[in-house]
């Protein structure tokens, strides 16, 4: 039932009533006729409605959530709690810096720590998500080439396995995209790279470890090839959890990177956001960093804007990005330190390799069995699909019945019927073993009763939903008495 269907004219959460003197000094032409169409319910009705809705969700707090490339690790409550201390919450973004030395000191230290963790020379915290970090990175690269009068660098090279945001960002920055081939062993084909790179190359965008769940072993050579051709290198930090504290994009030769703090740095995903995507850059891109950045001068912290950074690509947000998210990431890094960071990557990779080995032991086919898995790995259900007529989607839906959120499916697109599985370091061996048992049980079901998979899920609030219908006849808002918009 929708909140609008619970609405009764004249009912309200009366605790929100205001004592008005009713002064209004506006000409009638500016005014709304009647009240806005919002639900009219009591406070209890609202609380109960939304509490019940929350219970329909799978989440990290309630289920194993092995969603590949999304790093659904535990989000420490202390980070969440302390980012909401009154001092932080009440401060207006345009209040004087003197009244914000607490929050600004945290942000400044986070900038410095991210430089250290990534090996980059400059950091701006303002991008509000990974994709905005990518945008900032490519916009800086664009500005760099323009400033050098290098106007013909209009191409971005990227492997076909890249996250969809990579080519989409390239498009938004006015670049065209050329896909580089990947070898059967999962590494980028260096000859293919050499053939594509040239005077039109603005940059190579690379995720390393790649979305195939393997480390690009020839990354240093790739960096050399691209740099020698006058291009720059962009690092998609989505998979940083696999290498945190072990190796750094800066040392690999990258010029710009983003960090998904909602992945590696354990801030919650909130049903799709907010995240944050700070960008780090090499020396040559520092002048172009998005504003504001936090500076420490003569004993105090403040934000530095475009007036003192004339070459900046400009601001990306009205104020300072997702500050509250950055505070959570700050405390997380302070709590784990270097040793903790190295343990994060060790146990993330351990869990992935263990899970991969166990699933292979159960007869599942790994996409890259000859490679060491990173923090995630790919199972291909091509065989199951052929033998039992069940798809990766069917498997995913059946996993929901077993109380697990589904891995990422059909991505990367180059591996047929694939599951991209990322367990993260915060899951226990017992939880991984339960997942293996569920996968094995589903495989048996696929052999004996494939229709159980094809009609899954069976135990969730709704059966499998018709996405085609949703797209063909879009109903995007509720209307009294039914009907649709779209």
């Amino acid at each position: 039932m929708l909140i609008f269907e619970r609405s009764r004219p004249g009912r309200r959460a009366a605790a929100q009533r205001l004592h008005l003197e009713g002064r209004i000094d506006l000409p009638a032409r500016f005014l709304r006729h009647g009240d806005p169409p919002l639900p009219e319910v009591s406070e209890l009705e609202a609380v109960r409605h939304y509490t019940r809705l929350s219970q329909l969700n799978y989440s990290v707090d309630t289920q194993f959530y092995p969603l590949g490339s999304c790093t659904m690790k535990y989000n420490p409550r202390v980070c969440h709690q302390t980012a909401q201390l009154e001092g932080f919450l009440q401060r207006h973004p345009l209040a004087p810096a003197a009244s914000g030395q607490g929050v600004l000191s945290c942000l400044y230290e986070l900038q410095e720590m991210l430089k250290e963790v990534t090996g980059m020379k400059g950091v701006s915290l303002t991008p509000m998500a990974g994709a905005q970090g990518e945008f900032a990175g490519l916009a800086m690269i664009h500005a760099y080439h323009q400033a050098r009068g290098d106007h013909n660098r209009v191409e971005i090279l990227t492997p076909g396995s890249a996250h969809g945001t990579n080519p989409a960002t390239a498009g938004m920055c006015g670049f065209s995209v050329r896909e580089i081939l990947t070898q059967p062993d999962g590494d980028v084909d260096l000859d293919a790279l050499k053939a594509l790179v040239g005077p039109k190359t603005a940059a190579l965008m690379l995720t390393n470890p790649s979305t195939l769940g393997v480390f690009e072993r020839k990354v240093e050579k790739m960096a050399r090839i691209v740099h020698e051709a006058g291009g720059l290198l962009y690092y998609d930090g989505a998979n940083l959890n696999a290498i945190a504290g072990r190796t750094r994009p800066g040392d690999m030769g990258f010029d710009a990177i983003h960090v998904n703090v909602h992945k590696t740095l354990a801030t919650p995903h909130g049903g799709g956001g907010p995240g944050a995507g700070p960008v780090g850059v090499s020396e040559r891109l520092i002048p172009y960093l998005p504003t504001p950045v936090v500076v420490y001068e003569t004993g105090s912290y403040r934000l530095q804007g475009g007036d003192l950074r004339p070459d900046s690509i400009g601001p990306l947000s009205a104020f300072m990005g997702n500050v509250g998210v950055l505070l959570r990431a700050y405390l997380y890094l302070r709590m784990i330190g270097e040793e903790g960071l190295r343990r994060v990557s060790r146990f993330a990779v351990l869990n992935a390799n263990y899970l991969a080995a166990r699933l292979a032991g159960e007869g599942f086919q790994l996409a890259f069995p000859q490679r060491r898995a990173t923090h995630e790995f790919i199972v291909t259900l091509q065989r199951e699909s052929k033998e039992y007529g069940v798809s990766a989607l069917d498997f995913a839906k059946r996993l929901l019945d077993y109380g697990f959120y589904a891995p990422t499916i059909y991505f990367p697109q180059m591996v047929p019927e694939c599951l991209l599985i990322e367990p993260t370091e915060t899951e226990s061996k017992e939880e991984l073993d339960r997942f293996v048992e569920a996968m094995a049980a589903i495989r048996r079901e696929a052999a004996e009763h494939p229709e159980v998979l094809r009609t899954a899920p069976h135990r969730l609030p709704v059966r499998r939903l018709d996405e085609t219908l949703a797209a063909r006849k879009p109903e995007l808002i509720w209307k009294p008495g039914g009907g649709s918009a779209g």
């Binding site: 959460a13 009240d35 509490t51 960071l341």
Partner: protein
């Protein structure tokens, strides 16, 4: 590291299953030249939870509370107690973008309700499920308008200077690489509005859209009907940048002029999101039906269980939809690169709008308006202070001061008052002007104290704090 559950026995058993002798081998595909030795990173020593919490409390205590009279795009509203109690539940907080619809009906239904509420507030047909913030939402709205309306291949958008200055900069950041021309229109120095005369010189030119802020950055109400009709007459699209709380009181973009605005966007922060030094907030974006497939970002739709599964009476459910627009399907040809949005903030906003209800939100809007009127009346009584623009305003107003604005603001800060936003840096002609705002949270006593402080500071004429 406090959040890893493995015992030494687990580690040993798991390495055995993997078939490697020691954990080091987990990284054997990373070239030696790139591997860092232990201790190579200079990071502060780790803290336990007690120490970490203490550190954060110490830092938060440095951020001393000021009585807030600043608006300028972020507003100090009351947030009903249940909003974050419920939005902060782990089931909402720690879930991902709802790719598996059946296991995400909670988030999806709230987003669908949120879309309905935003469409209702703006008077438009559809809304997406959030963008990053108000400024980036305007950036996306501009890109959307250019995609939808590119007359004779001209990519030009009219962007009045009464739009929030940082929003304009953000629009520039995100449109610069795509060869979109942004035309800045001047404001009328007397009214603080977009003058129709400034538009006339564009009546013979091609352009994609006009951006109309309501209220505008000075708090002033624009003549939205005339501006909308003029734009439509010259085949442009109308993008409204609106304050969502004001929409409980003001005419929604969908009813501007004879045809209504085509797109509306804005900052969602006033709907239940704490100020928190600037974020996380969320942007909203709504539009007319023909533009739906040009919208960026996640969109939730209502659908049914698949016919072959649901039987005779399939249940309704919610799912992400129109995904063919999005980066993970469309890649380089997507409407936007946006992936993560501000989901949790929209859940809080849906709760906020529900708890406020039509009456509560309207009362909040009225109280903001009445408080700001009252504040302006008080401050105008101080010699040398005058209201800068002779136009109706919603809940912000520009005042002209007889002393340098920065001096006054510093003196007010020392008295515990965040006195407003200095307009001079963004508007060279308004060097002596201060933008003030009094939301429903400001009390008579606080406004009286503000007036007394300002009077004292201006009378002292030196502007220095009392020693």
């Amino acid at each position: 590291m406090p959040y890893i559950p493995h015992t030494p026995e687990d580690l040993k058993a798991m390495l055995k299953v993997i078939g490697i002798p020691e954990a080091k081998a987990l990284f054997d595909e990373i070239p030696d030249s790139l591997l860092l030795p232990k201790g190579a990173l200079q990071l502060p020593a780790p803290l336990n939870e007690m120490e970490g919490a203490r550190l954060m409390r110490e830092r938060a205590a440095l951020d001393k509370p000021l009585v807030c009279f600043i608006g300028a795009g972020a507003y100090d509203h009351h947030i009903p107690a249940p909003v974050w109690e419920i939005a902060g539940r782990g089931e909402f907080l720690t879930s991902y973008t709802p790719y598996q619809a059946e296991a995400s009906q909670g988030t999806l239904q709230v987003l669908f309700e949120f879309q309905t509420m935003i469409a209702g507030l703006t008077g438009l047909d559809a809304s997406n499920a959030s963008l990053y913030d108000g400024a980036s939402a305007l950036g996306e709205a501009v890109l959307m308008a250019v995609r939808a309306n590119e007359p004779a291949g001209v990519r030009r958008v009219l962007l009045p200077s009464t739009v929030h200055p940082t929003y304009r900069r953000v629009v520039r950041t995100v449109t610069r690489q795509q060869g979109i021309e942004l035309v800045e229109l001047p404001f009328c120095s007397d009214t603080g509005q977009i003058p129709l005369e400034a538009l006339e010189r564009w009546s013979q030119e091609h352009f994609s859209a006009l951006v109309i802020p309501q209220p505008n950055f000075f708090g002033v109400l624009e003549e939205v009907d005339q501006l909308t009709d003029w734009t439509h007459k010259h085949r442009g699209l109308v993008i409204g940048v609106v304050n969502p709380v004001s929409l409980a009181l003001l005419r929604p973009p969908g009813e501007w002029g004879s045809r209504g605005a085509d797109i509306a966007c804005g900052e969602g922060q006033p709907l239940g999101i704490p100020l928190s030094s600037g974020g996380p907030y969320f942007g909203f974006l709504a539009c007319r039906q023909p533009l739906i497939r040009q919208m960026p970002g996640r969109i939730v739709g209502r659908t049914l269980e698949r016919a072959e599964l649901g039987g005779e009476h399939p249940k309704a459910g919610f799912t992400l939809t129109l995904q063919a627009r999005e980066q993970h399907i469309r890649r380089a040809k997507a409407t936007s690169n946006i992936c993560s949005n501000q989901g949790l903030m929209t859940i809080a906003a849906a709760l906020h709008m529900t708890l406020m209800g039509p009456k509560g939100l309207r009362e909040a809007a009225l109280a903001c308006h009445a408080n700001t009127l009252s504040l302006v009346q008080r401050l105008k009584r101080i010699p040398g202070v005058r209201q800068r623009f002779a136009s109706p305003f919603f809940h912000e107003a520009a005042l002209e001061l007889p002393l340098p604005v920065e001096t006054v603001l510093t003196a007010l800060t020392e008295r515990g008052v965040a006195g407003g936003f200095a307009l001079g840096a963004d508007y060279p002609g308004l060097d002596s002007c201060l933008l003030v705002c009094a939301t429903e949270r400001r009390t008579e006593g606080e406004m009286e104290a503000y007036a007394a402080h300002l009077d004292e500071i201006l009378t002292a004429r030196g502007g220095c704090a009392p020693c």
